[in-house]
Symmetry: D3
Subunit: 291 residues, 6 copies
Amino acid sequence: MRLPYVTDLKDVDVMVVGAPFDTGATFRVGARFGPSAVREASALLRPYNPAQEIAIFERLSVVDGGDIVVAPGFIEDSYARIEAHLRPILEAGVIPLVIGGDHSVVLAELRAAAAKHGPVGLVQFDSHSDCWDQYFGHRYTHGTPIRRAAEEGLLDTKRSIQVGLRGGLYAPGDYALSTELGLDIVTTMEMRERGLPAVAAQIRERLGTGPCFVSFDVDFLDPAYAPGTGTPEVGGFTTYEALYLLRALKGVEIVAADIVEVLPAYDHGEITALAGATVGYELLSLMAQAQ
Amino acid sequence: MRLPYVTDLKDVDVMVVGAPFDTGATFRVGARFGPSAVREASALLRPYNPAQEIAIFERLSVVDGGDIVVAPGFIEDSYARIEAHLRPILEAGVIPLVIGGDHSVVLAELRAAAAKHGPVGLVQFDSHSDCWDQYFGHRYTHGTPIRRAAEEGLLDTKRSIQVGLRGGLYAPGDYALSTELGLDIVTTMEMRERGLPAVAAQIRERLGTGPCFVSFDVDFLDPAYAPGTGTPEVGGFTTYEALYLLRALKGVEIVAADIVEVLPAYDHGEITALAGATVGYELLSLMAQAQ
Amino acid sequence: MRLPYVTDLKDVDVMVVGAPFDTGATFRVGARFGPSAVREASALLRPYNPAQEIAIFERLSVVDGGDIVVAPGFIEDSYARIEAHLRPILEAGVIPLVIGGDHSVVLAELRAAAAKHGPVGLVQFDSHSDCWDQYFGHRYTHGTPIRRAAEEGLLDTKRSIQVGLRGGLYAPGDYALSTELGLDIVTTMEMRERGLPAVAAQIRERLGTGPCFVSFDVDFLDPAYAPGTGTPEVGGFTTYEALYLLRALKGVEIVAADIVEVLPAYDHGEITALAGATVGYELLSLMAQAQ
Amino acid sequence: MRLPYVTDLKDVDVMVVGAPFDTGATFRVGARFGPSAVREASALLRPYNPAQEIAIFERLSVVDGGDIVVAPGFIEDSYARIEAHLRPILEAGVIPLVIGGDHSVVLAELRAAAAKHGPVGLVQFDSHSDCWDQYFGHRYTHGTPIRRAAEEGLLDTKRSIQVGLRGGLYAPGDYALSTELGLDIVTTMEMRERGLPAVAAQIRERLGTGPCFVSFDVDFLDPAYAPGTGTPEVGGFTTYEALYLLRALKGVEIVAADIVEVLPAYDHGEITALAGATVGYELLSLMAQAQ
Amino acid sequence: MRLPYVTDLKDVDVMVVGAPFDTGATFRVGARFGPSAVREASALLRPYNPAQEIAIFERLSVVDGGDIVVAPGFIEDSYARIEAHLRPILEAGVIPLVIGGDHSVVLAELRAAAAKHGPVGLVQFDSHSDCWDQYFGHRYTHGTPIRRAAEEGLLDTKRSIQVGLRGGLYAPGDYALSTELGLDIVTTMEMRERGLPAVAAQIRERLGTGPCFVSFDVDFLDPAYAPGTGTPEVGGFTTYEALYLLRALKGVEIVAADIVEVLPAYDHGEITALAGATVGYELLSLMAQAQ
Amino acid sequence: MRLPYVTDLKDVDVMVVGAPFDTGATFRVGARFGPSAVREASALLRPYNPAQEIAIFERLSVVDGGDIVVAPGFIEDSYARIEAHLRPILEAGVIPLVIGGDHSVVLAELRAAAAKHGPVGLVQFDSHSDCWDQYFGHRYTHGTPIRRAAEEGLLDTKRSIQVGLRGGLYAPGDYALSTELGLDIVTTMEMRERGLPAVAAQIRERLGTGPCFVSFDVDFLDPAYAPGTGTPEVGGFTTYEALYLLRALKGVEIVAADIVEVLPAYDHGEITALAGATVGYELLSLMAQAQ
């Protein structure tokens, strides 16, 4: 959106920050180029959002804070760098909107958010729960960050919900990994059966009042709408449906958010990048509403 | 569709004409190769349309009139060339089906159509209203042709409607630009809320009786269905929905039509070109119905 | 799915077999690389299918039998090779799950299936009926196998149904080609009007009891979901809808199945290959249910 | 080159003809779209060739005769159609410049050429000799046409030469297949050692006087220059080198020529199509020189 | 190269400036995204150039001045904007390194350069002379800027040379268009015959002493090395050869330079963008040498 | 090459092994799919290599040992797994031909090779020396393995040489990092000046007698020939030149080899994969010569 590049936090409401990290990925890699692609695609967006009836930049001071310097190949080091980068932003009362990167970055973001706000509510749009305990015997990967976050007390699990889960599992109990941690879940199949309005209401109710984190993994979308992602799952959602659910978050207190798993090397016609950018646009509109 | 290449207008009902012009585009360019791509994709189409129950070529004499020689880089000169090319076709009672090119070409087409038929009704399938007054201080671009057409008296605005508007705007009043000109509009969000049958009925009623122009911008479709276009907007329509709305135009007096903004360099698997070609196929079927 | 490569049929329930043949195709070619692409994409799948509540490999012994050696360029010779390859598999009581190749291979598969089971019921998910009599004056192409199969008595036509037909035809009577052979058909337009649950019930009822063949042509899907195919038709189905219909086949006695017309050279982001692999996954889940 | 589409042979010197056939291919397929791609790319060419110092169309009447109707999937039938299509062209004293299609079409072309001119000299730019006896037990494929042509007496083998052979062979004696038929061969390795001027002289001398056929398989070029082809071989030639060798054919009596194995689905940026079109441009320049 | 974004000209030696304009293009369009692609690819470059034995940033202060705001669709307006943007840069003694955009932008650049330095010497690496008088009856396009520049007295033609001309022409006299203006030319064919060292010496001598402009059109490179360009010509140069010739410019007084015709939509694997970025890297190294 | 999948080492001479690891990469990632792509492309190869005059499989028993199970995201863990996998192969007297993966894997390979053979000679075809000490403060990445190998005493540095170095450096002393370790280096520029025959002789002499490791990074090739790689450098080598240098290794005692940095997501037309496969083909031919 041709945002000014600014690193000074004064008079800033929201800072867009890139987290070009993808070492957590276990299948396709390359989400490190996600921030660049989403920024590029955001040039197509325009300042007034008629769906939310809001002129974003009249209400909100938004700046582009550039990319976090991560250490490709080194997850825990990169976590530390991401957390260290985000903490002063959050301390200054600025909302970070992080563009990933693979989904593993969410753990570092939640650490930073909880340091400022305490345990946060979470709505996670995703086809995967990312609640496994280990991958290849390792505890920090893009399949495990939500479990780690819950274990570390970063989440107010009673105000947390995972939306859009689908695709094959490793074992029958995989969905229980989420619910045992205290999170609510809604599968894609359930969403199709109950309809989106009912699910939107459930999400809104679950998040309640208090600080919330919105995490949007583009594999929530169907591969037809978001081919450029690391672990695509067919049978997913349209962009219209995603925007519908996001708009229903009106009134939620968003203290931080991310858009992850945009992987340009598998994209075409930049449609995944544009989808990611438009998700960011709706998130900014929500934040503007809340000012 | 392997149509014969014919420039003689005798005994012809419809002439397909390419308008390989894209200088009006302000973001992605390359729609000048749209005519070539749509023709190529049309090889997949077959003569009997079961959805409209019509054997197109038994009722309609359709020929391919080749491409208009435009002046790349020069909008007003190209407008003059396009209008001059289309006038004798319309004078001969032949319906031109123009394959664009960017949407700016519609102004030249409307000039030619109005010269023969007087002000025409318009149904415009598009995610953008193209009713801005200026772009970069210039009055003739792909964002302004409908305003120019209304100002020049080429439209019977009471019988004109824009369908599928969505995406961000420059300002809250942007949609009013259309309604102030007298056009009716239906946004994508409104279409989702009211359902397609209601919208189809509204379009049909609006067009009423009298000569009409059908303008189909492929960005009406979602980027998943039409990635190869100049200004994609996520949250759009499926090809099935587009065909449904087109088929509902039965009985409308179509005197000219176009399919614009197919941009092959951003297409893949030729799906945008095929979508454009199939839109043309439904338009030809409608024209055949009317014979 | 990283299946073991096994050619011994002992203790095997299902054998995945590639049929890299595409000489039957009359438009785009290249489906010979379909088996390779589908196998590659299947690496993303996981063993427990929550939609069908089944741990596939706990119930089913599935192996990868490699590719059939076909004779590119020679249809009848290749038919003989495919049939000869599949017969011992079927004789051993093993279910072949064939990955095509173009749709012409289904005739050879049906010959092998009928040799073991007698005439079989057929459910064919496809945008084309493949019931033409001849193409270019030749009787064996990808547009004719179902007619040949009916003529050869390989189908229990009373228990056979074609689902998803759409797109232009050569002549008004083209759909009657199927019904005159005794097959039931449901067009895409009819499916949209009646809704998928009603169609799912109709399919299930039609197949009844007795051995059935499931043939899934990926052009049943919309090109947005399956761009990599030989004769795409816009206005088609989402992958979610395809999976919904497949899951409704619960209780059908599947003795053989195929997934055809995956054409990698026109695919992007491997989404067509992944769609094909996921269809295979649902078919394996159905087979596991039946054990 | 925006040639006129003409089927009348009067006052014509050269007719460009498409042979959209690829059933002979044993690996990648899709060369059936070669004629369309080469024509499209030829729009970039201009009428005066400074390298040969010739204004092509001042000396030569060139028309586009459209595509031959072949029978995809049926080699011998298609051979008969191609030969039948080309014979009247040759009879009328017109030079056919055929755009393939896979290399198997050369047999049909040579049959037509020999019917008019008797056995012809051949220069074949190719990384493969296409002199195998059988492929998969079949005698007519894209690996065998030159052998068949020699056996049928269509070649004046003493005036025939294959240039650019490289890549792995099935057996040590594979190159001898060519020389035993009486053809001369020059491998890529030999060309690099001796240098192109020496090889150009050898070709010119070999062709001598009398009617000649020039067959250019784009896999003569390195895959970096021609990725869109059926059986690429690394370690090949640049386009500059190919043009250099073609220009050295000055004075040869070319009675027919082809450019084969352009396979658009594997091309990118249309560079293979442009290479093919430019080869055609140099051939037309040679023909113009000879007028 | 992750240059700082700076618009203040103090203590700056070189300013990289994007000119995202492509309305001058007559065939493929899309070079407006060239600046973005070249910047992205430049992330691969490193500060010490061993070929020129120079640590660029120890000798040279280089900043990124962002993109010039042009008016897509309007050539003369855009020329005025580009010239107005570059004049203060040149006035401040800063060397602009412009990333195009199509080649038409060079006229505006030369106007700005000549305003400061008087008529400049020019070395133009290009397969086209861009010296036509008109295109489609218009005087300002990407085929005419050098003629306009000469006519306007912006060039010291005695110190100007065009290198790498090749491909078909409209007429035999097309090359004379350059020489009649007083420019020297070297065709690709001549370069191959004489060898690059001789040509490098000729260029160096021609440029002599005094202010020079270096214009690098990426279609100087062969399409295998630079597929992403507007009017590719086969038979061109490798990147090694281009770098060799650039390095031979040691000692030339470069007052401005550009890299034009990078067209990302036709690129793949970003190789054209990387070629463009590396040309910029060598130019910066030359400028660093001269400090 | 359709090799049998075998894990038993008896009577085996060479085992092809995939190392699908790319966590060491610092720029583009995705080489984990390199083994799959190279295997797929190898289907084009044929058993007799006329350039080396050897029927590979008559002299050599070659099997495909499948892929090593690595831990994506964890370098040191993966090193341990790779070394553990290769040690028994080497112990059995079998030559491993490893398909990477990024270049970081070479350290694990060298550990395994040295465990069997002691310090080995090394010829590394590469545009980068991979001798940096650290990247982002970490010691194990794809930029450091050769330094680590030298430090660990795995190399007989007097018999080691790096060939093809080019592109920008971080500092003037970067090349000295190699020579200070005792390795010989030849830059691309030096190779162009001295000619390939001289360099081939230098390599052969350097390797001398005794066990050697051949490491081929596809970025040795120019991006026109190998676009699908992680850190492309323009100005590189053709595939012909690479094959020429490899063939000159005749008589070298190769005890292990690898082909790394094939990155399919940035490839097109599979030309990088085919280049990688052909390099493997020449290496197998060399090994067959040595039997």
